[in-house]
C-alpha cells in the first residue's frame, strides 16, 4: 500500500469520527435511528456518512423537556408533578373516565423528554440534596422501569437532547450549572458554571452548540464546541426592543423556555420584559424575543421615538378640544399591542403546521398562540385558549385549569396536553387552525391528585400564581416576581406620589420596572394633576430588590426592606398596594381581603420549597470562613444572627449609601438586616443590587456592614465560601 493510499484509508476510517459532533457519534443506541418526533427537523444529523455515498438522512432526535410530554412507545402522556413528587401517567386517548396513575421516582421531577423507548426525567432533589437524570423504560401496563440514574448538580431542571439523540444537556437551576450527559454510557461528560437560574436549553441543529435561557436577566448563555472544550459565553439579548425607551437595553425575567424554529435559524425566548414603556404596565410586558442565530441579534427593530403618524381631523387638537390625548391607546408612541399577550410565560412549544408558538400563560390560565413570523410574536396574538372552565366566585381564581405550566402537542398538532399546576390536572385542549373568531371547545380534564387537605393552602397556592385577582395585584401574580418562591434578581423602583389637595394627602406608592417607565406613566396619567413624587432628573423611586421568599418567612416579623411591616399579614397588604398602578385602596379589614391574606400566608410559609442544599461537613476553608463570620472583629453575626435565620430583623443605617444610577436617594433610610439563608444563590447583592457577586460585596464593603477591610485575600475567600453554605 502506498503512503497516499494509507492516508486515504486512514481518512475513510477516521471520517465518521471527525464528522460533526451531532453527525458522527458512533455510539448511537439501537433505537436512535428509528424514532419519530415533533422536534425541529434537520437532515443529516444522527448518522455518520456512509463511505462512498451521500450522508443518509436520519430522524432528528433533538427534543426539549417540559413538565408534560408524550411518551410514544407507551401511548402515554406523562406529567412531572413536582408538587407531589410523582410522575403521572395518563393513557391516550384521553376519555371522560380516564384516570392518571401515579409513579413515584426517587425525588422531585421537573422535566421530561421522550426519546425513543426511553423516558428521560430530570430530578431537582433526590432527597439528599443532589440532582439527577433518570432514564426509564415502560414495563407492561402502566409502569416504568428505571434503567439508569445519572447524578447531577442539585436542582436539575431543564433538558434537551442532541440532534443525534446520543447526548442530553441538563440545566441545574439553583446551582447555576449545565451538564452534558452521554446517553449511551449514562455518564456526565462535563459540567460548566453558567449565570444564575439556567432553565430552558436547546441544541443548535448541528449539535455543536446550545443556548440556555435564565429565569433572571436578559442575556442567554451560549455553549460552543459541546463535543470538546465546551466553551461558555453570554449572548447580549436585550428584551423587547419594540417596547423600550430609546437607547435602553431592557432586562427580563421568567426565561423558563426556549423554542427553535423548524429551520433552525430562529430562537424564540418567551419571557417577561422588565422596564418596558406602557400606559398601564407598571410591571413590564410580555415578550417573545427572537434571536437570529446567524447574526446573534434580536430580529426586532427598536422602537422609534418620533416616527410618522397620520390621523383624521377630529383627533387633532383644535378649537379648545383636546384631540388625540383622549384616546390613550393611540395617543402614545408606545406599542401597546400584545403587551399583556401572556402573563408569566411558563412553557412554550412551536406549532409547525401553523408557524406559531404556543405559550403557557401561568398568570391568566391560558395557552396563547402567537404568530412566529413576526418580529416580536406578542404583536401577533392569533388566539387564546383558556384552560379555565370555572373560577371561584369571590377570589376569581381557577376551580379547574389553573396555572398552566407545561405543554406537549399531539402528533398532528391538533391537541395540546397542558399541565395545570394549581388545580393538579392535565387539561386536554383542542387546537384549531388559522385565525378568526372561534369558540373553542372547553378542555377535558384528568385529575392528577386530590386537592390539598387544607383549603387555605389550596386557595393560597392558586392566589400565588394567579394574576387576575385584582385585590392581590394589578396584573402580575406573586409568582411573577417570586418564581417558585425565589426572586427575579431585579431591583424595582418604588415611587411615592402625594397630592395635598386629596384625602390623606393623596399618598400612595407603586413599583415600576424602570425610571423611564415611571416617568412615562406619571407624565401620561397626571399631566393635569401635578403630584409630588420622588422622580427627578437623576432617577425615579427608591431601590427595592426583590427578596427571596422560600424558606425565609418563618419569623413573625418585621418584614419589608425598612422593617416597615410588623408581620407577614401586614407585608402582604403592603404588597397588594405596591404591586399595581394606583388603583383602589385595599382595605385589609374587608373580609375577603383578610381571607386572601390568610390563605397566602399559609401557602408562602408551607408551600414554597426552598432550594435543595446537600447536607455535608464544612471544608477547612469554610470552617475558617465561619470563624471569621462569628468573630467579634468582623461582627457579621451580631446582625446576621445564626439562631434566627442569619438576621436579627433590626434596621441599620448604611453609611455612604449613594444611590445607584436611575434611583433617587432615600435619606436617613435604615434597612432591615436581610436573612443570609441561600445567599450564595441569590445575587445580586445589597438592597439596590449593586454588587454582582459575594466576592465583590466583601471586597467593596469596607467597614460599612460589620468589618471586613482588615481581612486578608485568603480570609475574604474563606468568608465567601462559608456564606455559600448557608
Amino acid at each position: 500500500m502506498t503512503l497516499a493510499s494509507k492516508l486515504l484509508a486512514a481518512f475513510v476510517i477516521a471520517a465518521p469520527a471527525l464528522a460533526a459532533w451531532g453527525c458522527g457519534d458512533p455510539a448511537v443506541p439501537p433505537e436512535a435511528s428509528g424514532s419519530t418526533g415533533s422536534g425541529p427537523s434537520r437532515v443529516g444529523s444522527g448518522t455518520a456518512p456512509a463511505a462512498g455515498g451521500p450522508a443518509a438522512p436520519a430522524k432528528d432526535r433533538a427534543r426539549q423537556g417540559s413538565s408534560v410530554a408524550r411518551y410514544e412507545p407507551g401511548g402515554l402522556v406523562v406529567v412531572a408533578d413536582e408538587d407531589h413528587k410523582a410522575l403521572q401517567l395518563i393513557e391516550l386517548p384521553v376519555e371522560r373516565e380516564t384516570k392518571s396513575v401515579k409513579f413515584e421516582p426517587p425525588g422531585t421531577p421537573a422535566q421530561i423528554v421522550s426519546l425513543g423507548k426511553r423516558l428521560l426525567v430530570t430530578v431537582r432533589d433526590d432527597g439528599d440534596g443532589d440532582g439527577a437524570l433518570l432514564v426509564y423504560e415502560k414495563k407492561d401496563g402502566l409502569d416504568l422501569t428505571e434503567v439508569a440514574r445519572v447524578e447531577l448538580p442539585a436542582d436539575a431542571w431543564g433538558i434537551a437532547t442532541s440532534p443525534a439523540g446520543t447526548h442530553a444537556l441538563v440545566t441545574s437551576a439553583w446551582t447555576a450549572k449545565v451538564s452534558l450527559v452521554d446517553l449511551t454510557t449514562n455518564k456526565v461528560v462535563w459540567t460548566r458554571d453558567v449565570a444564575r437560574e439556567p432553565r430552558g436549553v436547546v441544541f443548535t441543529p448541528d449539535g455543536d452548540s446550545a443556548y440556555v435561557s435564565h429565569l433572571i436577566d436578559a442575556p442567554l448563555t451560549r455553549i460552543d464546541k459541546i463535543g470538546s472544550e465546551a466553551t461558555v459565553s453570554r449572548v447580549p439579548f436585550p428584551a423587547s426592543p419594540l417596547r423600550s425607551a430609546a437607547n435602553e437595553r431592557l432586562s427580563a425575567s421568567l426565561g423558563y423556555s426556549l423554542v427553535l424554529s423548524p429551520e433552525g435559524d430562529r430562537l424564540y425566548a418567551p419571557r417577561h420584559a422588565l422596564g418596558t414603556l406602557g400606559i398601564r404596565t407598571w410591571f413590564g410586558a410580555a415578550a417573545v424575543d427572537v434571536l437570529d442565530l446567524a447574526t446573534q441579534k434580536n430580529i426586532a427593530t427598536p422602537r422609534g421615538g418620533n416616527a410618522h403618524v397620520s390621523m383624521i381631523e377630529p383627533l387633532m387638537p383644535r378649537d379648545g378640544r383636546e384631540g388625540l390625548s383622549t384616546w390613550w391607546s393611540a395617543a402614545s408612541t408606545i406599542v401597546e399591542e400584545g403587551n399583556s399577550a401572556f402573563i408569566q410565560p411558563r412553557a412554550a412549544v412551536y406549532r409547525k403546521s401553523q408557524r406559531s408558538i404556543l405559550v403557557a400563560s401561568e398568570g391568566t390560565d391560558a395557552i396563547v398562540e402567537l404568530d412566529a413570523m413576526m418580529q416580536d410574536p406578542t404583536l401577533g396574538l392569533i388566539r387564546s385558549y383558556s384552560t379555565l372552565s370555572d373560577s371561584d366566585r369571590i377570589m376569581g381564581v381557577a376551580v379547574q385549569g389553573g396555572a398552566p405550566s407545561g405543554i406537549a402537542l399531539s402528533e398532528d398538532e391538533g391537541t395540546a396536553y397542558v399541565y395545570c399546576r394549581t388545580t393538579d390536572e392535565l387539561a386536554v385542549v383542542r387546537l384549531v387552525e388559522g385565525d378568526g373568531y372561534y369558540e373553542t371547545v372547553p378542555p377535558r380534564y384528568v385529575k392528577l391528585a386530590e386537592d390539598p387537605k387544607d383549603p387555605m393552602f389550596a386557595f393560597g397556592r392558586k392566589l400565588f400564581y394567579n394574576a387576575t385577582d385584582y385585590t392581590v395585584s394589578g396584573g402580575l401574580a406573586c409568582a411573577g416576581c417570586h418564581p417558585e418562591g425565589r426572586d427575579d434578581g431585579y431591583v424595582w423602583h418604588e415611587v411615592e406620589f402625594s397630592n395635598e389637595g386629596k384625602p390623606n394627602g393623596g399618598k400612595f406608592s407603586n413599583f415600576f420596572g424602570s425610571a423611564s417607565a415611571a416617568r412615562h406613566m406619571d407624565a401620561f396619567w397626571h399631566a393635569k394633576e401635578p403630584r409630588k413624587t420622588n422622580i427627578d432628573k437623576t432617577g425615579a423611586g427608591y431601590a427595592r430588590q426583590t427578596p427571596m421568599l422560600a424558606g425565609r418567612l418563618k419569623a413573625k416579623g418585621p418584614y419589608g426592606w425598612l422593617a416597615e411591616n410588623k408581620d407577614l399579614s401586614a407585608r402582604l397588604v403592603a404588597g397588594f398596594r405596591l404591586h399595581r398602578w394606583e388603583g383602589p385602596g385595599i382595605d385589609e379589614k374587608e373580609v375577603t381581603t383578610g381571607a386572601r391574606i390568610n390563605h397566602l400566608s399559609v401557602f408562602v410559609r408551607a408551600g414554597l420549597t426552598p432550594p435543595p442544599m446537600k447536607k455535608r461537613d464544612l471544608s477547612d476553608e469554610e470552617k475558617r470562613g465561619k470563624e471569621i463570620f462569628m468573630s467579634e472583629a468582623a461582627a457579621c453575626s451580631s446582625c446576621h444572627a445564626p439562631e434566627s435565620d442569619y438576621t436579627n430583623r433590626s434596621v441599620a443605617v448604611i453609611p455612604g449609601n449613594v444611590p445607584r444610577q436611575a434611583f433617587v436617594e432615600e435619606k436617613n433610610a435604615a434597612y432591615k438586616t436581610p436573612s443570609l439563608l441561600f445567599v450564595g444563590g441569590s445575587a445580586p447583592y445589597f438592597h439596590d443590587g449593586r454588587y454582582e457577586t459575594l466576592e465583590e460585596l466583601i471586597e467593596k464593603n469596607g467597614d460599612r456592614m460589620g468589618k471586613t477591610s482588615h481581612l486578608s485575600p485568603e480570609d475574604r475567600k474563606a468568608l465567601v465560601a462559608f456564606l455559600r453554605t448557608l
Binding site: 419594540l242 435559524d265 437570529d292 442565530l293 446567524a294 447574526t295 441579534k297 430580529i299 426586532a300 427593530t301 427598536p302 422602537r303 422609534g304 418620533n306 416616527a307 410618522h308 403618524v309 397620520s310 390621523m311 383624521i312 381631523e313 377630529p314 383627533l315 383644535r318 378649537d319 388625540l324 383622549t326 384616546w327 391607546s329 393611540a330 408612541t333 406599542v335 401597546e336 399591542e337 408557524r355 404568530d371 413570523m373 413576526m374 418580529q375 404583536l379 401577533g380 392569533i382 388559522g434 385565525d435 378568526g436
Partner: protein, 205 residues
C-alpha cells in the same frame, strides 16, 4: 378656522379621499381617477354620498417570496399616480382582520392599503426617511363630526424592503366611546428582512 376656510379645505380632503379610493381600487384605478379630476366642484356632502368602498380586486396577488426585490436604494414613490399599474402582492402572512387589505409593490417599495374606518396610523419602528403613512379621512364639515361609521375611510403605509431593516406600523380604527367616538387598535403591519435571510417577511395581522 373660519367657515369659509373650512369650505375651501373641503375639496382638498375630498380629493384625498378619492385619491386613496383610486389607490386601493386597482382594476378601478382609471374609474377612480375621473371623479378625482372633478372633485374640486363637488360639495362635501355629495362627496360622502357618492364615494364607495373600493371595488373588489379579482386579480390573484403574486406571492411576496416570488418577487425579485431590487437591492439598489431608490426614491420613495411620489403621489398616487406612481402606484398605478403596480404589482398586487400577497404578503408572507395575513390574518382575517387584514383580509381586505391590498399590498402593492413598486421597485423595492410596498404600499399597504386597508379599506377600514381608519382613524389613525402610527409608525412604531423602522427608518422614517423612506416611509410614509396616510389616512384618507372624510372631511370635517361645519364643525360637526363626520359620519365616521359608514366609510369610506382607509389608509396606507408605504415603506421599502431593504436588507437589515424592519418596520412596524399600526392602524387604529374608529370606535364607539363616551364622547361620540374613540379609537381602537387594529391591523399591525410587521416587515423585517434580517441580513441572514434571503427574502423579507411581511405580516399583516
Amino acid at each position: 378656522m373660519t367657515k369659509t376656510a373650512r369650505l375651501l379645505l373641503v375639496p382638498l380632503f375630498a380629493s384625498g379621499v378619492i385619491g386613496m379610493v383610486a389607490l386601493g381600487a386597482l382594476s378601478g384605478l382609471a374609474r377612480a381617477q375621473a371623479p378625482a379630476a372633478s372633485a374640486t366642484t363637488v360639495p362635501a356632502a355629495a362627496t360622502s354620498a357618492s364615494a364607495k368602498w373600493p371595488a373588489p380586486d379579482l386579480r390573484v396577488p403574486a406571492p411576496l417570496a416570488s418577487q425579485t426585490i431590487p437591492t439598489d436604494k431608490s426614491e420613495l414613490p411620489k403621489g398616487d399616480k406612481a402606484w398605478h399599474a403596480t404589482t398586487l402582492i400577497e404578503p408572507t402572512r395575513r390574518s382575517h382582520r387584514a383580509a381586505n387589505c391590498r399590498v402593492f409593490m413598486l421597485r423595492e417599495y410596498l404600499n399597504v392599503f386597508c379599506p377600514l374606518n381608519i382613524a389613525l396610523i402610527r409608525q412604531f419602528a423602522g427608518p422614517t426617511k423612506d416611509a410614509e403613512v396616510w389616512v384618507t379621512p372624510k372631511p370635517f364639515v361645519d364643525g360637526r363630526f363626520p359620519d365616521l361609521w359608514n366609510g369610506p375611510l382607509g389608509g396606507k403605509v408605504v415603506f421599502p424592503l431593504r436588507k437589515g431593516e424592519g418596520y412596524v406600523f399600526q392602524f387604529f380604527i374608529v370606535a364607539e366611546a363616551y364622547e361620540g367616538f374613540g379609537v381602537d387598535p387594529s391591523i399591525v403591519v410587521d416587515a423585517s428582512w434580517p441580513e441572514s435571510q434571503e427574502k423579507p417577511t411581511v405580516v399583516l395581522r
